[in-house]
Every structure is written in C-alpha cells, then in structure tokens.
C-alpha cells in the first residue's frame, strides 16, 4: 500500500452501482475494462430520462418532445466533438462502435477509391476489426495489404523500417494495442502517411477512453472509437472524419434520414454527418455517451491517465516478482495503455482466468480478437488485466495474490 491515488477513487466507485455487488461472496474486482467498461449511474440516468421523459424519434418531428430529443442527440454530438477537439460537430458521425466506424471508412472510401495493385498499410498489432474490413476491400478491389511489423520483445512498432513502405493509399493503425498495451506514436505515423499522400485512419478504441486525444493535433483523417469502453452505453460509437473527406464520400448505408430527396430514379444525400446515419439512430446511446463524456471531463482525462499509469506500474512491479511470469509489450508503464497481457509458465490463460474468477476477479483470456499478435508471440492465448478510473491499488494486490495462488496450485515454484 502507501500509494497515493490521484483520483478520489472511493467517490468514483460510489457512482458505479455494480461495485456494491458480490461474486461468489467476494467483492467484484473488475479488470476487463478494455473489453467493456462499467457505467456510472449518471449515464444510466441520462438514458432513463430519454426513455421516460422525452422518448421520440429525432429530426423532422414537429412536436415538442421530438425537438427536445433532437436537441439532446445533437448536443451529445457537440460534446463529443469538443472532447476530441474536432473542428466542428459535423465531423462526428454516430455509428455502432469502432468496428462499424472502420467498416464505414473501408466501404464508403476505400472500396470506391482503391484499384488493383493499390496498397493498404496496416500494422501487425491490429485488432481483427482493423484487419478484416481491409481484407474484404482487398478481395473486392485487388488491392494489397502490407503490415508494419512490431518487435516481439518490446512490443513496439519497428518505425525504423517505416520508409520501406511507399506508394500506399491508406494507413490504418491502432493508437493503443489492446494486447500489447503499446501506445503508438500517432503523430509520426499520420505525418508519414501524409508525406506519402495517403490517408491516415486511427483505431482509437483503447485510447479515447483513457487519455486526452486531440484529432487536430494528431492530424488524422479518420479516428474511430466505441462508447461502451468509455462509460457509455453499448451500441454507440463514433467515426471522426475530416469534413472535406466526409463531404466527398458516398454514403455507407442507404435509407431514411441520410437522404435529401428520393425519386424513383435517383436520390440525393443529406449533409454530413447525417449522410452517414441511415435509419433511426441510437438516440439513447448517443445521449448516454454524451453523459459519459461529461463524467470523464469532470474527472479530467490527464488525471485518469495518471491514475491508470500508476496502477499499471504497480501491477508491472508486482508481476515481475511472480515466477514463470511473462509480460507482453513494453515494460515501462509510461509507454503503455492501462492493460497488461501475460502468461504464467504453462498455465493456460483460460485456466488462469477460471481460477481468478473463483476470487471474484474478472480478467479476459484468449486472443482478444488479435490472433496475428498471438501468432507472432507464439502463444495461443494470454490473460489480460485492464484498468480504468475506478480500479484501486488494493485490487492490484488482490490480483497479484490470486495469480500467485494459481501458480502454487499448478506447482510452479
């Protein structure tokens, strides 16, 4: 102990009703926020208010509660726009999540622009959602995919080899790896893409919830993230896109809301970002995400990042003392997101996760939707603990004890 928290974690935890429940007679220790975060009552309350007090469809409704719903939906967009420092809220497209955001760029931009032999540049540390859409586009267009490798020992991209990759049309990369934890040099990668007249797309699913992300400072063309990983509801996420690009792009899905005029022979499109929001949107989700952004801003993203870094450092220090422990990714807490994927000797990740669950500890085990990373690390699975603003140093100690207990059970001495 003796570690000073930079946040008033007790007060924060009080906002999350789930932390008052027990699992198997023990307090819940939730270390899987990289998969999905918990939600504070402020977010649930915002969603409840919409459904109970002004539930109606957005846009075009002439009656009062529809105007109210539209205002709240668009207010959420403005909050998110400010949160990531977009130039305008017109650059914020509501989608279901990071996966849909990346698919939107793949289908509405890449599918139309790429030709046979064109190159798509990715990295070896991508989540499946930033690999598979591009593979589908490559199949359609005959484009090729190249991958910037990462170093398997320190988990960092081999940026010294970057200039091997030329003549690519698009570079799409993760801001922070959901397995290695590595925080990539987004500004440098974006600059490299632009020097090569390519677009820069960022999967920021593990970044936006945990640190200050400023799209203008980074200079990216597109940036994708999910609401449910940042205290918001499930089924809502964001695609940030530079206005000029969104303007020139064709729609992703067709339907209501995204049109200006529909004739039997042709249609014309609504303005951005609504051109990309076909059908009734996830109004409750957007409003909930707006409340989540309020919550995060009230605490402060810098302080959240410092807290997570401190928890990560604590866990890394403790893990190093465990026999047979193998930690993947950078060993400096400052260079990684608040998550640690690891293995202990020959204990399979799922066996370890099952044993930790007996102590009420929720961790993830498997390939975390990043099979190519695990292939390179030569392990079928890893156990991953991930931290957020509501986690405590005491929970890190309980995690460490529980891992040691499991190692003892497996006779790793």
């Amino acid at each position: 102990m003796g570690r000073v928290s930079l946040l008033n974690v007790d007060e924060i935890r009080g906002d999350f009703p789930i932390f008052s429940r027990q699992v198997g007679g023990r307090p819940l220790i939730y270390l899987d926020s990289a998969a999905t975060s918990q939600r504070p009552r402020q977010v649930v309350e915002a969603v409840r208010r919409y459904y109970e007090e002004y539930n109606s469809n957005v846009h075009r409704g002439v009656y009062s509660i529809s105007v109210e719903a539209t205002e709240e939906y668009e207010r959420a967009r403005r909050k998110i726009s400010r949160f990531i420092n977009a130039k305008s809220e017109r650059e914020v497209v509501f989608v279901r999540g990071t996966t849909e955001a990346l698919n939107l760029v793949a289908y509405a931009w890449a599918l139309r622009k790429l030709r046979k032999g064109d190159k798509i540049l990715l990295t070896e540390m991508e989540h499946h959602s930033n690999i598979v859409p591009w593979q589908l586009i490559a199949q359609h267009t005959g484009a090729e995919i190249n991958y910037i490798p990462f170093n398997r020992y320190d988990g960092k991209l081999e940026l010294d080899k970057l200039d091997r990759y030329k003549d690519f049309k698009i570079l799409s990369f993760t801001y922070a790896s959901n397995v290695l934890g590595t925080i990539n040099d987004a500004k440098r990668l974006v600059k490299y893409a632009h020097e090569n007249n390519a677009l820069a797309v960022i999967d920021a699913a593990q970044a936006v919830p945990h640190m200050r992300v400023d799209v203008q400072e980074i200079g990216c063309d597109f940036l994708a993230f999910s609401g449910h990983k940042m205290l918001g509801p499930t089924g809502i996420g964001v695609l940030y896109g530079r206005r000029e690009l969104l303007e020139e792009m064709q729609p992703f899905m067709g339907g209501g809301e995204m049109i200006r005029e529909v004739h039997l022979s042709h249609s014309t499109w609504n303005e951005v970002p609504w051109k990309f929001e076909a059908g009734t949107p996830n109004v409750a989700g957007a409003i909930g995400l707006g409340a989540a952004v309020d919550y995060l801003e009230r605490i402060g993203m810098e302080r959240i990042r410092e807290h997570e870094e401190s928890l990560t450092k604590h866990a890394l220090d403790e893990f190093e003392k465990i026999k047979g422990m193998r930690i993947y990714g950078p060993l400096e807490a400052g260079e990684r997101a608040g998550l640690i994927a690891f293995n202990v000797a020959d204990i399979h990740a799922h066996d370890l996760a099952t044993l930790l669950d007996e102590d009420g500890i929720c961790v993830r085990a498997g390939h975390h939707c990043a099979m190519p990373i695990h292939t390179k690390l030569e392990t079928p699975a890893t156990t991953r603990a991930s931290f957020y603003l509501y986690n405590t140093h005491e929970e890190i100690e309980r995690l460490t004890e529980s891992i040691k207990k499991a190692a003892k059970k497996f006779k790793i001495t």
Binding site: D346, I347, H348, A349, H350, D351, T354, A365, G366, H367, H374, P380, A381, K409, F410, K411
Partner: protein, 133 residues
C-alpha cells in the same frame, strides 16, 4: 473444485496418457475450440470386430481440454464403438470429477466431440450435435 480433483487434472495435463500420433490409425479427427484455441486430434485403430485396438491423441490447450482428452482416450482402449457412441457429457464430468460450467463446457467436451466424430465417421454416420448438448 476440490484439491484432489485438481491434482488429478493437473497430472493428466502435465503427463498426458496415450499421447502422440498413431501411424496405422483407421480413422483420425482433429477438432478445435476457438474460445481457448484448444486443439485435440484423436487417432483410432479399430479392428474388424468394431473394437478399438488402440487409441491415442495429440493436442494443446487448457488443462481442462487436455486432461479430459487424456482421461477419455485412456478409458476407451479395447471398447467397442457401440459403447463409445453412447458416451455423453456426464461421462466426461465423471472422469474429471466435477461438473464444468457453461464458460468452460466446450473445453471439457472437445475430445469427446472429436472422438465421436471419428467413430461416426468409421460407422459412416453423421453425428447429431444434440448428443453433446
């Protein structure tokens, strides 16, 4: 799970019985469980009378999947294929000495699924997925 149950599972995980390929196998089946990345490949040498003359397996994955495979393959040596097709999930629980919950049931039943697929392949029939539910 009791300590003794775990000890036995751990022993089979670290020292799997009848482990390795069988060169003259009549039938072999590989199956995998995408959840854990568990893999089990079952090899059976079946005699003209329908008895398993020799059964082996190869695999990698979590302790539950590999221990269940080791125990199951050990138990079917010299068994008739008609007996093997009757095996169900409770038989695996009995071997492991515990019931396996929904989160890990696929690990526990992976070897049984591969084994029954192999036997049904030998018999020229198709397995009904219901048998493992």
């Amino acid at each position: 799970m009791s300590d003794i149950t775990f000890e036995i599972i751990l022993d089979h995980y670290r020292n799997p019985r009848n482990y390795g390929e069988l060169g003259d196998a009549t039938v072999k089946v590989r199956d995998s469980n995408p959840l854990c990345g568990d893999v089990v490949e079952v090899y059976l040498k079946i005699g003209g009378d329908g008895r398993v003359e020799k059964a082996t397996f190869k695999g990698r994955g979590c302790a539950i999947s590999q221990a269940a495979a080791s125990m199951l393959i050990e138990s079917i040596q010299n068994k008739h294929v008609d007996e093997i097709v009757k095996l169900g999930k409770q038989d695996i629980f009995d071997m492991l000495g515990m019931e396996v919950g929904p989160a890990r049931i696929k690990c526990a039943l992976l070897a049984l699924k591969a084994l029954k697929t192999a036997v049904y392949g030998f018999l020229g029939k198709k397995m009904d997925e219901e048998e493992l539910s």
